[in-house]
Symmetry: C2
Subunit: 303 residues, 2 copies
């Protein structure tokens, strides 16, 4: 009924190489994470290592970036960032990525609004969203990895009730309120000064202006990264892993939440405060602070 008919095309040949633009997006995202500026060199091997790829696909991504005007390249000198990755101009390349995400978002929306039955066959999804079997499988694998759909033993898949339930958000927060402070309170917890500095720099930048220019999705993403980086300090992958999963589900309803810029501002300030305490290794205190940070009901979802 609500299915998007999503350009019935052979999945390749669609506006100048979908894959390349996707790669371009990955590169820009990395550049942003690393705090790179316009003019910085984009060294192939370094990008390849950071993204767990070989140079071949990186190269495609770089070419796409050049086409999009986000990078400039000269023969035998490689590529250089043409714009600050945080600037609004980073959108063009991302536009392609967005298109790729469209079906995902549509499905997420349909599941959240219960427009889709809990149990569905692949055939039905293919028809409904105009996907090839291969495309659908990729998508379902990804969603399964995020934990909100699972294969049934026979034919078909089942969406987790978790997602569509109205209390889902509260439950996710309750879970975080348990694991995040506990992680900080773990015996071996430690956060290198490097990491702290990087996190602070990023939060500071957001605090001092970028916030206004960011989309809800970006703010959300940035918050997740912050918290995931901190929980990583426990040195226990189970904490990190479980936070990641919660976050990937929270992301689904984050889009619905209102943009309360003031609340977000206060939120980021708390992040900065937390970093101060972590820096001086007062972990017990930091754990408490984190607990408070998470318990605050807050609008409808960020952190």
């Amino acid at each position: 009924m609500t299915a998007s008919d999503s350009s019935r095309q052979p999945a390749s040949r669609r506006g100048g190489s979908e894959r390349a633009e996707h790669l371009a997006g990955l590169i820009m995202a990395l550049a942003r994470r690393e705090g790179m500026k316009a003019g910085d060199r984009l060294i192939e091997q370094r990008l390849a290592d950071a993204l767990d790829l070989s140079r071949a696909p990186i190269r495609l991504g770089l070419k796409a970036l050049e086409t999009a005007g986000l990078a400039r390249g000269e023969p035998h000198r490689g590529f250089v960032l043409a714009k600050n990755p945080t600037s609004g101009a980073a959108q063009p390349a991302l536009a392609a990525v967005r298109r790729r995400e469209q079906v995902y978002a549509t499905i997420a929306g349909d599941v959240l609004a219960s427009r889709l039955p809990a149990d569905v066959t692949e055939a039905e999804l293919m028809r409904r969203y105009g996907l090839s079997r291969a495309e659908l499988q990729r998508l379902l694998d990804r969603i399964a990895a995020e934990g909100w759909v699972a294969r049934l033993p026979g034919y078909g898949w089942r969406f987790a009730e978790t997602v569509s339930s109205p209390e889902a958000h509260a439950k996710a927060m309750a879970f975080r309120a348990v694991i995040e402070p506990a992680a900080i309170a773990q015996p071996g917890f430690a956060l290198s000064q490097d990491v702290i500095a990087r996190l602070r720099e990023r939060q500071q930048r957001v605090f001092e202006g970028e916030l206004e220019k960011m989309t809800i999705g970006e703010v959300f993403h940035s918050g997740c990264e912050f918290h995931e980086e901190i929980i990583r300090g426990a040195g226990n992958p189970f904490f990190l892993e479980s936070l990641r999963r919660v976050n990937s589900i929270r992301r689904l309803f984050a889009y619905r939440s209102f943009a309360d810029r003031d609340g977000m501002r206060r939120h980021v300030r708390e992040h900065l405060r937390l970093l101060e305490v972590l820096e001086t290794r007062r972990y017990a205190e930091a754990a408490e602070l984190m607990a408070k940070h998470l318990q605050r009901p807050l609008v409808a979802g960020l952190s």
Copy 2:
């Protein structure tokens, strides 16, 4: 180098329908969980509902059970359990299931012992374990769902360091020691008398003798079920989900642990004690008890 060559066959036609025997195994496992006895009827639709399947595959499973001598069927009267599902005789049908699990176990062992590089291509795995692409994909999907392998952005997969690390077990326990007591202490925690009764009955049975007859794997499985049923009481799927994931990884190294029957006995006694406290709704006390239960170093892994 250590690859098992695993009967290079077309994946179907292998000793009287592999799939049917697998289904038979599912049915027996269900019968055990539900505490069924020899003589109980196996009603197709009921089994189908419980296993999220239709009657067609159930029927195959039942026929296989009959062949294996675990069920008896008469025309128009359906099937009846021939043996107690807890008896050792339940093994024959499971033998087929085990065969199916063999490659999985081999891979798990190779990863645990670091005989496999962290990054591998599918082609390499296919060669090494003598699998078709389809078989391998199924396997990798399952392992990915369990969380100890993940697709790389390019070609290949990466096994989680989590698994092979020597501290993995301690980390898993540390994580459990956080979430399980916290789950019990959640505001809405509740466990119906029904559930408590069922759990008690099961633990009691194990305590009073079955323990001696169970394999390590079965003891482990039973322990997981117990804990998962309890954490479910928090009514927060994130707790349950994360415990499940930890457990599916713990299972990997559980096989290596020694069978300390005395330790296990004490362990089950603690489960029974915990149920008593839960029954009277003294949740704070129960949470503490659970924390102690999990903190005890214990041999090498059960609970």
